[in-house]
Symmetry: C2
Subunit: 389 residues, 2 copies
């Protein structure tokens, strides 16, 4: 099996954009190509995440149009992946596997999405299509609703007072906003306090407004290549050491929303391929669509013991200068969440961190990083372990 | 590189269904599993095509729900592919490449779609999202419009009177309807005549109603496995000898709608991997979304010389008992076109033909078969070469 490296990365500013999905993708893609010292016509395939381009811009089968937009050859397969919010991570994973197998030597993966243009009410409704259409959505469960249930289950299971849990959750929001201030590409760049979170409107008990990530526009792209053939192109190639993907499926299938076999299996697969364990990870970008999602992710990824994440968060272990910095980019919470691009943006951040190019938000001596993305209300889970090469 | 075989296939009746996309898929998948002597829990991954599940049933990220529906393990990645009408062929191709590389030993690929439920007006509008949203659709071009232009370009380029061309196109419709009568799973099972076609309402000059395929509901699935480990399970495994995929991209990029570099490259790639040429093919399922599409496909696939397809069609070369039978299933025209399932259904037909199980529509001594699928107005092209193993 060949070593697969990320040569270069690109990303737009996240937020509210006047650019189309294709224009945003081109911006990110051309930056990634430039970093990689590669031309679009040399790319052998494109793997791209996009979730709701049909509702957003009346566009399906966006991949070949993105390929044309950046000047790729017509002979190069261009494929859209849709795994709800995990779409781009799944696209990156498939790109990595295809290069690892020798099918291709150099490809691009990424994602683009324009959710902010829809406005929050329509975005909420269309996002909800990521839950099971027959068994879940019509019962009235929304994504905030499901993650509200996760919080209640968590508090009950570990006999933690709900107030203590929501305080730790608020700390997640405060930390991620603080990191976002340091990220010039983040959607939100303002500090908030515990009081901001706990004083904000209730969305789905116990989740309040500041427990929830925003809807954003944005795109990100990475160039993925066979290490032997391409590593000399750039000073700091980053190895994709392991990948994992699982399918938790519908909520009705889950015995315990705070622990999911699919997610634990996906992370384990990525760790094992990389030959590392959770304690080897120096920096993590994980799926904090809601603050409670960061809490349970940290446990399912093996970073903290089950039931121990809230205390660790309160101690500051996940802060930029903590034991294991989590979401230095600001996470979905502050960097923003253009659903189909999120996984590629998480990958962008980890690559930049491992290259030591993150300025004020740089995690010291980061050598091994983890990407973790959820699709829907757990439907899909996907992980990548990256390391310096 | 390992040999990859299709162990078993399954397919619902195409037409108008009361079943959900998940239920239809389960029907097809369980048939494919039964044929393959494999259990759902043994499948290591699912690759599934679905195009408009969000408009049809309010469902995105359908793959993990389909995996759960048939009883797959949560550890198994389940991924949705959307390449417009080529979605399922692209899903099958990725499944094949993943097994060939050794990433998996046994997986399922397929597709499911419920377009008929939308009704023709909404289906036409939502389908049109497969064209370029900025440069094409807003100019008023629909899919029938684009393929109408193909017909005019073809007639002008080869100096064929338009009446002669539309007569040959009508013969395509008559042949595919005749084949559909012999296929118990086809959407339309009635013979039509040249007069039926030429007397039907004009849709997009020169395409008339009977030049156009219907909107259908349906699902199809195939089990794909490493030959060495699994070939003994079934009496007649079918080898996936070659695959190809290209990205023609938007119409504005095409110099000549009757010839496309992407499609010719995709077919060439599939032929070369399989070590065969167009003259070795015994049976073809190709993308006859409109009758003119069958004409130009036959030439871009190398079956007939450029400009020679209409004559060959008039001679009966593509009939069930002709030199090279095309769309024995009835094609999209008569078997029906549940967009996200179409490529898997084409694969189903070729597998059944190569196993000699097609009864009255059996192509004599078929040993090598070709699948050809278009996504959108050429955006994506995908090919598979199958042969007896």
């Amino acid at each position: 099996m060949r070593d697969v490296v990320i040569l270069g990365v690109g990303m737009t500013k996240f937020g509210v954009s006047n650019l189309s999905q294709k224009e945003m993708f081109a911006e990110a893609a051309l930056e990634a190509l430039h970093e990689s010292q590669v031309k679009a016509k040399d790319l052998q395939a494109l793997f791209v995440g996009n979730v709701l381009g049909d509702f957003e811009e009346g566009q399906i089968n966006i991949a070949p149009f993105l390929a044309a937009e950046i000047g790729m050859k017509a002979e190069a397969p261009a494929t859209r992946f849709e795994s709800a919010c995990a779409s781009a991570t799944v696209a990156v994973r498939h790109a990595v596997l295809m290069v690892r197998s020798g099918e291709y030597d150099i490809v691009m993966a990424g994602g683009t999405e324009r959710t902010a243009i829809m406005g929050t009410p329509l975005a909420t409704k269309t996002f909800a299509m990521g839950s099971h259409s027959e068994y879940e959505r019509f019962s009235g469960i929304t994504f905030p609703g499901v993650f509200g249930m996760v919080a209640h289950q968590y508090a009950a299971k570990y006999r933690i007072p709900l107030d203590s849990l929501t305080h730790a959750m608020a700390k997640v929001a405060v930390k991620n906003h603080r990191n976002g201030v340091l990220n010039p590409l983040a959607h939100f760049r303002k500090e908030i306090t515990i009081d901001t979170v706990l004083g904000s409107p209730m969305i789905a008990d116990p989740l309040q407004l500041f427990d929830c990530c925003p809807f954003s526009d944005g795109a990100a792209a990475v160039v993925i290549a066979d290490a032997e053939k391409f590593k000399e192109r750039v000073p700091k190639p980053i190895l994709v050491a392991g990948t994992g993907q699982g399918s938790a499926g519908p909520v009705y299938r889950q015995k315990d929303l705070t622990r999911m076999a699919a997610r634990e299996a996906s992370a384990k697969h990525a760790y094992e391929e990389a030959g590392v364990g959770p304690s080897d990870i120096d920096v993590i970008e994980l799926h904090d669509c809601f603050t409670i999602a960061e809490v349970v992710a940290l446990e399912m990824l093996g970073i903290f013991d089950f039931g121990a994440a809230p205390e660790a968060i309160e101690r500051g272990d996940t802060a930029l200068d903590g034991k294991i910095p989590v979401n230095p980019s600001g996470g979905l919470k502050a960097k923003g969440h253009p659903i189909g691009a999120t996984g590629a943006a998480q990958t962008y951040e980890i690559v930049k961190q491992l290259r030591g190019e993150c300025g004020d938000r740089q995690v010291k001596d980061a050598e091994i990083g983890l990407v973790d993305t959820l699709g829907g209300d757990f439907g899909t889970v996907c992980n990548l372990v990256l390391r310096r090469y």
